[in-house]
């Protein structure tokens, strides 16, 4: 029993938390060109799935944020955890997102990050550290919170804590 609890505790403590370095997005199959774009920039990494209803609602908000802050260097990366390529493609075709997409087909990155729920987004600063985590998508509230945090991070200079 104690061993089982230790396993559960060890698993839960592996979750990425604010202040941690975010793992490389290459694990999710992000192209070299897109990886280059994330380097030294403020990045929002959103984990989503085609079977997740709130993920559908979140795409419009992320597209708005990407358009608003693209010139200031914000890069939003949507990481799909879909194992089915057809489900992934159908979702992309339907919602036509204006931000970078990647498919974590082996679910390697999501297993490393240990997202608490679907969807979850991580706001990563220019130094690659997680600054905030938004578990779930709660419409305008999440968008407002992200907007303020993104603006603060974009205003901060590279190298500052």
């Amino acid at each position: 029993m104690a061993a089982a609890m230790a396993v559960v505790a060890a698993t839960s403590s592996a979750q990425i938390a604010p202040g941690d370095l975010f793992p490389s997005l290459s694990a999710a199959g992000l192209s070299a060109e897109s990886l280059q774009r994330t380097s030294g920039n403020v990045v929002v990494v959103d984990f989503w799935a085609s079977w997740c209803a709130p993920c559908k609602a979140s795409f419009a908000a992320y597209s708005r944020l990407q358009r608003q802050f693209a010139e200031r260097g914000l890069v939003i990366v949507g990481v799909s955890v879909d194992t089915s390529p057809s489900a992934y493609s159908a979702f992309i075709a339907k919602f036509n997102p204006s931000f970078v997409m990647a498919r974590d087909s082996q679910q390697k990155l999501v297993s490393t990050v240990q997202v608490p729920t679907m969807p979850t987004c991580y706001l990563v600063d220019r130094n690659g550290r997680v600054r905030s985590i938004h578990a779930g998508f709660h419409g305008d509230q999440t968008e407002r919170e992200l907007l303020g945090e993104i603006e603060a991070l974009l205003d901060a200079k590279a190298g500052s804590p």
Binding site: V7, A49, T83, Q107, M118
Partner: protein, 80 residues
């Protein structure tokens, strides 16, 4: 004979304990949020057939003299 009974007793005790430990370990296993695609499938929705649901509810009401109280909202993906 007494020795044999003692061995059988403690052997059974050890077996039961091992099974219980196994069950406890299994209960700690859970489906991760990113693994819920199958749970979110429409086929997992118990209310996907309104006519069948209404008939089952009628049978339940007729036999138990009670109705309702067993609906669960939301989908199976456990999102948000």
């Amino acid at each position: 004979m007494t020795k044999l009974r003692t061995i059988v007793f403690f052997g059974s005790l050890a077996l039961v304990t091992a099974l219980q430990c196994g069950c406890l370990t299994m209960s700690a296993t859970r489906v991760r949020p990113w693994e819920r695609a199958a749970l979110a499938d429409e086929i997992m929705n118990p209310d996907r057939d309104p006519l069948g649901g209404a008939m089952a509810e009628h049978v339940y009401f007729s036999r138990e003299a009670a109705s309702g109280g067993r609906g669960v909202g939301g989908s199976g993906c456990g999102c948000n």
